[in-house]
Symmetry: C2
Subunit: 237 residues, 2 copies
DNA sequence: CAGTGGTCTAGACCACCGC
DNA sequence: CGGTGGTCTAGACCACTGC
């Protein structure tokens, strides 16, 4: 069941796309709009609030609401959390090969700090090289607490997206991440493997992923070739 | 005048910090909470919605609301738009020197695309080198349409933050930006100047800044030494 | 001043969940 | 089933804006 304020939001959205509400136009007042949609003012306001949050409306107190120039949405925005497979797909590439290794290891200091573990605790470490047309395009190291996912790995070997594996086998939904954007040092061995040409610069994301309760579940080093992947960020005040 | 729902939000926020509402705790039901604050249910819900958006509460339909582990906020999060001076300050550095040049130039293709101009139109180009302890730490190229800011520059020379200059002299408030995160090529001349040591890797942000109506006002190339500045991004589904 | 959006209320119905 | 949050209403008062 889709609530009414979402339907109204979509309707207004379509009117802005179609040109019925062009950029710069002033919307009718709240009471007028509410009447025209046959809903209460608060319901209408809920719809308008959505559009405001999406950056499509500007509200000026005591004046009115105005349609503003929509920002063309970027496909591979870094704000959106997704699996590497999704990123490769979004870049229009075909994932031709994945080399993978899974092992149990002792927790290092950096992992412990980010996963709320103690140094030396058991962790699962997954390393993956992704190739497109036989060229390596990405290298990932994933570290997970053994206590959370150890049993699941014994039950079924990992295949495909780690995110969906965690959902299906562990009922863990990764919903957010804090990522540090890093230019790896010249001598970084993992980065070196991806620098297949002078143009192939490499970006590193050091990421801590959280579940719905903001518990850290996955720490990862993700190396991406910057000549293959583009990274966009939306910034706001 | 601070609205009631903000006051209630802050009150709940303090209760979570103080430990009165520890992580994992279930909040009283909405009617109970509303009664205890002496407000209507909708007002209380407005407060709760704020906390949910800030990632401090998890709502489970038909069950209740729960306090979740707060994510330690990162000081220099890239999501937050700020001037370079602010970034330097946030990194605990002292800006010791700024070298600056301002000129009128013809618009190049990349600038035209991002600023909704035509190639060859007049633009103002500002270049700045920022130093801390005599070391260069950042290099910026800012491009602005002459039509928007030309007069202001004739009136008063730029000094200090470009953002505040635009606000005070042009009544233009920059509120958002779309930024591409790039690892500059080895041969990039601007990046080279910042690579003062093997550890001094360099990150480039190509940014288009928008005003309150989402009009593009400023296009910039911002080079930062990654051994001096850290870049964090919050990602979510 | 009149019109706008921002806040707030008291009450209602519903979908969802755990028992 | 009873309790939870999600939606919705009709009406009210206020602060802000432009005239």
């Amino acid at each position: 069941m889709i609530p009414n304020y979402i339907l109204i939001k979509d309707k207004l959205d379509r009117m802005m796309v179609s040109g019925e509400l062009p950029v710069g136009a002033k919307l009718p007042s709240e009471p007028e709009l509410a009447a025209s949609f046959g809903v209460s003012r608060e319901t209408l306001r809920a719809a308008l609030k959505q559009l405001e949050q999406e950056g499509k409306l500007r509200c000026r107190n005591g004046v009115g609401r105005f349609v503003i120039r929509p920002l063309h949405s970027i496909p591979s925005s870094i704000d959106k959390l997704g699996s590497t497979s999704e990123m490769i797909h979004a870049s229009g590439l075909q994932e031709t090969e994945v080399q993978e290794s899974v092992r149990i290891d002792r927790c290092q200091q950096e992992w412990a700090e980010n996963l709320s573990l103690e140094e030396g605790d058991d962790v699962i470490v997954i390393e993956r090289v992704r190739k497109a047309n036989d060229d390596p395009v990405s290298f990932n190291i994933n570290v997970l607490p053994h206590g959370i996912v150890g049993m699941a790995f014994a039950r079924r070997p990992l295949q495909g997206s780690l995110m969906t594996f965690l959902e299906e086998e562990c009922s863990i939904r990764l919903v957010s991440a804090m990522s540090e954007v890093i230019v790896p040092a010249a001598k970084d061995l993992h980065a070196k493997k991806l620098r297949v040409s002078p143009e192939a610069t490499v970006l590193l994301l050091k990421q801590t992923h959280f579940d719905e309760d903001n518990r850290p579940v996955l720490f990862s080093y993700d190396y991406y070739r910057n000549d293959v992947f583009k990274f966009w960020v939306r910034r706001s005040r």
